[in-house]
Amino acid sequence: MDLILQQMVNAVSLGGIYALLALGLAVVFSIVRLINFAHGEVMTVAGYGIWIALASAWPVAAAVALGLAVAILAAVSMERVAFRAMRGADVTTLLITSFAVSEIIKVLFQNGISARPVPVVLPAWMSGTLDLGPVRIGVIALISILTVALSLVLLSVFLRRTVMGLAMRAAAEDFPVVRLMGLRANHVIALAFAVSGILAGVAAVLWVAQRGSVDPLMGAAPVLKAFIATVLGGLGSLTGAVIGGFVVGAVEVCLQGFLPQSLLPYREAISLALIIAVLVWRPDGLWPAEQTSRS
């Protein structure tokens, strides 16, 4: 029983990170039809931001703030430099564009910082554990869960209660109409990238806190999971992305916890195969976006 509870905590804390990343991908995809391969590099930039701040002996809160700030900056400038020129291109062209951007940024990290991981030293209290009844829960796992929950609530409030949030939701449904209503397309799109950046930044903080180091490929693996989560949830569906993120996290943790030792190296393959099986059953994902007629 304890073990199962423990695994559930792990699943939620890992799935939460995937959910944040997947949500960022979905926010951008729903508006500009871009599957952003370079989303992982946004996360990596945030990781390096935290690393520099902590290495310069900044307080943790300031380091987190810097991480989030550089993530937003990175996401928005990517849009400005690379994706804006391609706006309106088909999904495949946009996908390849972001693929190329991602490759370029990785090389820049390898040359500008280091190809090797750089250590990020966090305060000792963060690596402790708390005993909650029968469950022993890591401080970082707890922080992760709370942060993810808070982020999802805040984003939901933003999308439902603010004018820009409503504009973004409307843009996801039907972009030309939003332009006809007099909202600047560039503003809405930049905002979408900023939101995806801040979500990737939060994910980076939690990821770095759990792993204790940053390297040029840091964002690649979790964002790959987030891709799968968005497709699993239903491309372009925000709710679907969050659900997909938690499902991918849960599947991964379950396989890690319950697979026999000899099969452990195959767990990535097994979890992916399970997810593809779900897609065969439901090609539009678990929670598809509302069908609007787009030609």
């Binding site: 495949t92 390849i96 491309l235 393959a269």
Partner: protein, 617 residues
């Protein structure tokens, strides 16, 4: 009709051979001029070209960019290495490999063959899932496939050595073998592209709903292309492995797939010519930038070392191409070979004798979340005559056509044709049952030529290629587009596009032809011309035409029988004269104020007011 021509039967083959000649000449020139390094580069070029062509066979025809093909290469490389190595060498390199899996010292050709078989089997298994997906979802699925295969191969250390290099593989891929393979791959890729499956898949890539409405199952076509390209990629991987001599699974992971996809994109994904040009250009770029990677001093200027410079350069090249020439540097056209066109042979007589068929619509209803679009509509439409379907905007005409053609299933009622129940049939089944249609918003296959557009439905119903071409020529002549046969469909003027859609639907040899506003946007001369081309079809071929249009003069002049819909209900049915005098019809068209002006025929002015209102409403 006398100017109907078809492409020379050897056209695709001649173009393929020309491309082979160009590639071989280039490869030979590099090998001769640059000596040993030139030979190495030429060999690598040929192997890369094989891999890029393998991806192109799938991605170029389906439009789904594949990141998964290096998975086939990975498996192909290991399979061929296992079976071609001597047992003693294999035992030292991979001591834990089960004995039956390798060490047979088979010749390289058998290694390639085995790699192809395993690649095809792997593609068949994975394709059952992947080929269902199109567009971006499909691309992500291929990426997932690569990760699965890589993870399994890297984790299966007893089979692959995991992260340790698997060495001792016979280096049998020399320049000659690589060049011969490249020539073979070129022929296969080029002939596949213009062949039956390739053409039907490219049609589905350009417009999936239209392809399905002509009886093409896009998933099935994608699966065929995926299996062929999987087998080819596995062979390319085997060639690559026998060139390297030692490798790990990681050599087939993201870096390799990135380079290959870049070659395909830079040259142009849609053509085989593009694959050749892209491979050459990207390799030249990589080669040049590798020399600058470690830093370089040119007189007073010195550049610092930037590791990964080739990656950056290739990425930038790809971005530039996507931005300035999205179809690739070598565009949408294959390298042409000027073979003369042939006079079209006499096509088979149009299938007639469907005279007795009846399309029966029985109490059909359709609701969109509370909105009733069709309510209890019943009609019997016989073959052999033109039936008009009219009604003001929003009357449910297109909803009815979509329900009949499987694009939006009815919520109640039944649709039958002869003994087959089409109520819930897929668009492709409806098409195969003998119902073809045109679309209100024209849906052509923009990447295909005019004659290819019309040949596709003929191929889809299983005609041999030559007969399909002849049929296409006949239908094009019928709508007056014979002289435009070789042009890209996207280059046609608006009225010609409407006629092309009708020719395409006729080439499906339908029993019933549903024309959804075929005269929309045409000027009066074009409309009159279209009417003369449609008028004799029912008598000549025994087919039934359902004509939907706003132009009452056009409909009334052509039809023997007219059905009038208003607000989702059938309000009148009969001969044009009967319908025109029907008070309900006049009210529906001209509003209640005008219903007092009941007259058997409308004046020209009223007619244009009515149609004008409807088109803006």
């Amino acid at each position: 009709m006398t100017d109907a021509t078809v492409p020379h039967p050897w056209q695709a083959a001649a173009e393929a051979l020309l491309l082979v000649a160009v590639v071989l000449a280039g490869v030979l020139a590099v090998a001769v001029v640059f000596g040993l390094p030139g030979q190495r580069a030429a060999t690598l070029f040929c192997v890369n070209l094989c891999a890029v062509l393998a991806i192109q066979v799938f991605s170029g025809t389906s439009g789904v960019v594949s990141f998964g093909h290096t998975a086939f290469m990975l498996v192909g490389a290991y399979v061929s290495a296992w079976v071609t190595m001597p047992a003693t060498m294999l035992g030292r390199s991979l001591p834990e490999l089960p004995g039956w899996m390798g060490g047979y010292e088979l010749p390289g050709s058998l290694g390639l063959l085995l790699a192809a078989v395993v690649g095809a089997a792997l593609a068949l298994g994975s394709g059952l899932a992947i080929a269902r997906l199109s567009g971006a979802s499909g691309a992500i699925a291929t990426l997932g496939f690569l990760i699965i295969v890589y993870t399994v191969m890297a984790a299966a250390q007893h089979l692959t050595g995991g992260n340790r290099a698997f060495w001792g593989i016979p280096r049998t891929t020399d320049l000659w073998i690589a060049a011969a393979a490249a020539a073979g791959f070129l022929l296969v890729a080029r002939l596949f592209r213009d062949g039956r499956t390739g053409l039907m898949l490219r049609a589905a890539r350009d417009n999936e709903p239209a392809a399905r409405a002509l009886g093409i199952d896009p998933g099935r076509m994608r699966l065929r292309a995926w299996v062929l390209s999987g087998a080819l990629a596995a062979m390319a991987g085997a060639l690559y492995g026998h060139m390297l001599g030692a490798f790990t699974p990681r050599d087939f992971y993201f870096d390799l797939v990135f380079g290959l996809v870049a070659m395909m994109i830079v040259g142009g994904m849609g053509t085989v010519t593009g694959a050749v040009g892209g491979t050459a250009l990207v390799m030249a770029l990589q080669e040049g930038l590798q020399r600058l990677e470690g830093g370089v001093t040119l007189g007073p200027v010195s550049l610092p070392a930037l590791f990964g410079l080739p990656t950056v350069g290739v990425s930038l090249a790809m971005l530039a191409v996507l931005l300035f020439r999205p179809a690739g540097l070598f565009g949408r056209r294959e390298l042409p070979f000027p073979l003369p066109r042939r006079r079209a042979p006499p096509p088979p007589a149009p299938v007639s004798g469907a005279g007795g068929a009846r399309l029966v619509i029985d109490r059909l209803g359709k609701q969109f979340a509370g909105l009733v679009a069709l309510q209890d509509v019943s009609a019997t439409i016989p073959a052999g005559r033109i039936t008009g379907l009219i009604g003001p905007n929003g009357a449910g005409k297109s909803t009815l056509v979509n329900a009949v053609t499987g694009l939006g299933a009815a919520t109640s009622g039944r649709i039958t044709m002869g003994s087959s129940d089409l109520t819930h049939a897929t668009p492709e089944r409806v098409a195969r049952a003998g119902i073809a249609r045109s679309f209100q918003n024209i849906r052509l296959f923009g990447g295909l030529s005019v004659e290819e557009n019309v040949a596709v439905p003929a191929l889809a119903r299983g005609l041999p290629a030559a007969v399909a071409r002849a049929t296409a020529a006949r239908e094009l002549a019928h709508v007056g587009l014979a002289s435009d046969a070789a042009r890209p469909a996207a280059a046609l003027a608006y009225g010609a596009r409407r006629r092309l859609e009708i020719a395409r639907a006729l080439a499906a040899a339908p029993v019933f032809l549903l024309l959804d506003e075929p005269a929309a946007g045409m000027n009066p001369e074009e409309t009159a011309d279209l009417a003369t081309r449609l008028r004799d079809l029912p008598a000549d071929r025994g087919i039934g035409i359902v004509l939907i249009d706003h132009d009452l003069g056009f409909v009334m002049g052509l039809c023997n029988h007219v059905i009038v819909l208003n607000r989702g209900q059938l309000i009148a049915e009969g001969t044009p004269a009967e319908v025109q005098g029907h008070p309900g019809v006049i009210e529906a068209y001209l509003g209640t104020r005008a219903s007092g002006v009941a007259r058997a025929t409308m004046t020209e002015a009223e007619h244009s007011i009515a149609t004008g209102e409807m088109q803006h409403g």
